[in-house]
């Protein structure tokens, strides 16, 4: 790789995740080595049960590997405690989920501002920043709406604004277009491409080859290992 070491955002070495099923040990991840550089747009593909969700959880600091090393911005996070992991998620990672995962009882604006609550930002600044990002995804006029008053595409845009609000290095998107129609899918993918152009690192899990084709790099996970690593434009067959 031509890029400098210090731009290496994610560095996985020998990552294994083992589960105890009865008296048998099952490996969901079986030795993953992966480097993702700052500003990369990587698509993670693979059939169900391939281990891509487990990999995503570990990359997103929601879970810890059983063995192996995970360096995020040069800092080892594989064995951090719960609170340190929570702080890492809060500051460095923005999540976008397939089913949006917005809190239903509070407004779009308050949903966007939620990560800032846990970052300890004061109320006024929180609302200003949340409004800014809600404007950026074109939903400034829907700030007071509750999630159930918004369409699927709008909800996902609220979720993206929420992922961006604390200015994280990395955006993790788990099937962000899985529940959306074609038009909304197009809008959402345009937002991701826009973020990529602005230099954010994006990791996107999908099993739709045409979505993955938008990414600058495509990774295929199968049986707990990365089997293919391709550049932009190649359409990989998941199955």
């Amino acid at each position: 790789m031509a890029k400098d070491e210090k731009h290496l955002t994610i560095r996985l070495r020998g990552i294994k995740k083992l589960y105890q099923v009865g008296d048998q040990e099952v490996a969901a991840l079986n030795g993953i080595d992966l480097d993702i550089h700052s500003g990369e747009f990587a698509a993670l593909m693979g059939p169900s049960g391939s281990g891509k969700s487990t990999l995503m959880n570990i990359l997103g600091c929601l879970d810890r590997p059983t063995v192996g090393s995970y360096q995020l911005d040069g800092q080892e996070v594989a064995h951090l405690g719960d609170d340190a992991l929570a702080a890492t998620r809060n500051k460095k990672i923005g999540f976008v989920f397939q089913n949006f995962n917005l809190l239903s009882r509070i407004s779009a604006l308050e949903n966007v501002a939620l990560p800032l609550v846990y970052a300890g930002v004061g109320r006024r600044e929180r609302m200003e920043r949340a409004m800014h990002f809600l404007d950026a995804v074109g939903l400034g006029d829907r700030a007071d709406h509750q999630p159930n008053e918004l369409s699927g595409g709008q909800r996902q845009r609220v979720a993206i604004a929420r992922a961006l609000v604390n200015d994280p290095h990395i955006i993790m998107a788990d099937e962000p277009t899985g529940n959306l129609d074609t038009k909304s899918t197009k809008e959402i993918m345009e937002i991701f491409e826009g973020m990529h152009e602005k230099g954010r690192t994006i990791i996107l899990v999908t099993h739709e080859p045409e979505i993955a084709a938008c990414a600058s790099r495509q990774l295929l996970v199968r049986d707990g290992v990365i089997t293919r690593d391709e550049g932009k434009g190649v359409v990989m067959d998941v199955v």
Binding site: L62, D83, L102, Y118
Partner: protein
């Protein structure tokens, strides 16, 4: 994360389920209300008893003769004949901080008016007796100094005696016979009702002490000396003074037993206070049980709430909430239930106790302490029963929680 933010979240969550929050609070409301109402009833009983004991005569010391000890079987208390009228005079003259001294003798006689007769307690008293017992004359007058000096055959009747001998007639100026001796009725007392010990305080006939001693019983001693002390603080001191004065007057050598007893009503008052205190504690703790039951209700609802909001907890954790953040959020929720429930309960308890006083014709006393205690207790219950569900919420694995449907 700021505390105010956790507080806002808790209020939002409680408002989202208004009916459920209210029903959860109801346990605490009823608990706190019951404690306050029950304790106020208990305190009411206590103050009633205190008033009725005070009506016996406040700050009273009673000097009575000791029992006969010389030879043979020991007589009953009061069987000695050494206590004299002169002792009472000496107490009044030589001891400070005394308002009134009244020596008495009493015995039971048949009292007759025409064809009506009634057995009653006939007491020989001095004029001071009226002040000591807070007696009031409704018609006529009480025994006077002149009546004493002349050993007059005059009598003052209690209202029960009047009722039984005269009916509706005015007895003042009429003649009656006590133990076959003619007496002139000079006054009727205002009714004092029953004492707290169940005695009829109106079934009494009062005659001059000298008349009772010399014309009725043929004795020279007195059966008791009532002393009213001017200040409750000085009861013990005055009691000591009386004891040493009487020992001196009766020539009792050091180390020998007294031939008299000095008792005071404070000990009766203390016993009564203890009893009513027990009643208050009993009522309060029965009500307290409902407070604990209310706490279990909080725990139950919080457990349901945690399960229901598993996904919310997962989202919050994914966005960076720590164990402490989630714990605080849920704990504040249950404490808020305790606080609001406690406040409403205080209102309800005070209202109940007011209603009991108004419509139950029963004295209730609301004091600050039970209000404070039950409020602190309800907040504590919210906290205590909130800890387990809050911990459960905070310990959820974010991946599991996000996957929860």
């Amino acid at each position: 994360m700021l505390f105010s933010e956790s507080f806002r979240m808790a209020i939002t969550a409680l408002m989202a389920n208004k009916l459920r929050s209210l029903l959860t609070m109801l346990g605490i409301i009823i608990g706190v209300g019951a404690v306050i109402a029950m304790v106020s009833v208990g305190m009411g009983v206590r103050s009633n008893v205190q008033t009725s004991i005070a009506s016996l005569g406040s700050n009273m010391l009673i000097v009575s003769p000791g029992s006969e000890t010389r030879g043979g079987p020991r007589g009953a208390a009061g069987s000695m004949t050494t206590l004299k009228y002169e002792d009472a005079v000496a107490i009044k003259e030589k001891i400070k901080n005394i308002d009134y001294v009244s020596p008495t003798v009493s015995s039971s006689y048949q009292v007759v008016n025409g064809n009506q007769n009634w057995r009653s307690t006939v007491s020989g008293v001095t004029p001071e007796f009226m002040m000591i017992r807070s007696l009031e004359v409704s018609t006529g007058s009480f025994v006077s100094k002149g009546d004493m000096d002349k050993r007059q055959r005059v009598a003052v009747l209690g209202s029960t005696v009047v009722e039984n001998l005269f009916g509706a007639e005015n007895p003042v100026g009429k003649n009656i016979r006590i133990n076959s001796q003619p007496f002139k009725v000079i006054g009727v007392l205002q009714s004092k009702g029953q004492s707290s010990m169940g005695q009829d305080q109106d079934d009494m006939v009062y005659i001059p002490l000298t008349t009772a001693q010399e014309r009725m019983q043929g004795i020279t001693y007195v059966q008791s000396i009532n002393v009213q002390v001017s200040d409750a603080e000085r009861m013990d001191q005055v009691q000591g003074d009386i004891e040493s004065l009487l020992r001196q007057r009766h020539h009792i050598a050091k180390g020998k037993e007294d031939d008299f007893n000095v008792r005071n009503l404070t000990s009766i008052m203390e016993t009564m206070n203890q009893t009513t205190g027990m009643i208050t504690i009993l009522l309060g703790s029965i009500a307290g049980i409902s407070l604990v039951v209310g706490g279990i209700g909080i725990m139950n609802i919080m457990m349901v709430s945690v399960t229901e909001r598993t996904r919310e907890i997962g989202i919050r954790k994914a966005l960076g909430a720590t164990f402490f953040n989630i714990m605080t959020q849920f704990l504040i929720e249950s404490v808020v239930i305790g606080v609001i429930g406690g406040l409403i309960g205080i209102g309800l308890g005070c209202a109940c106790s007011w209603l009991i006083a108004k419509f139950g014709n029963f004295n209730t006393v609301i004091t600050f302490l039970p209000i404070l205690v039950s409020f602190v207790f309800s907040v504590g219950i919210g906290l205590f029963f909130g800890i387990y569900p809050a911990r459960k919420a905070a310990k959820l694995d974010p991946i599991e929680a996000l996957r929860y449907e």
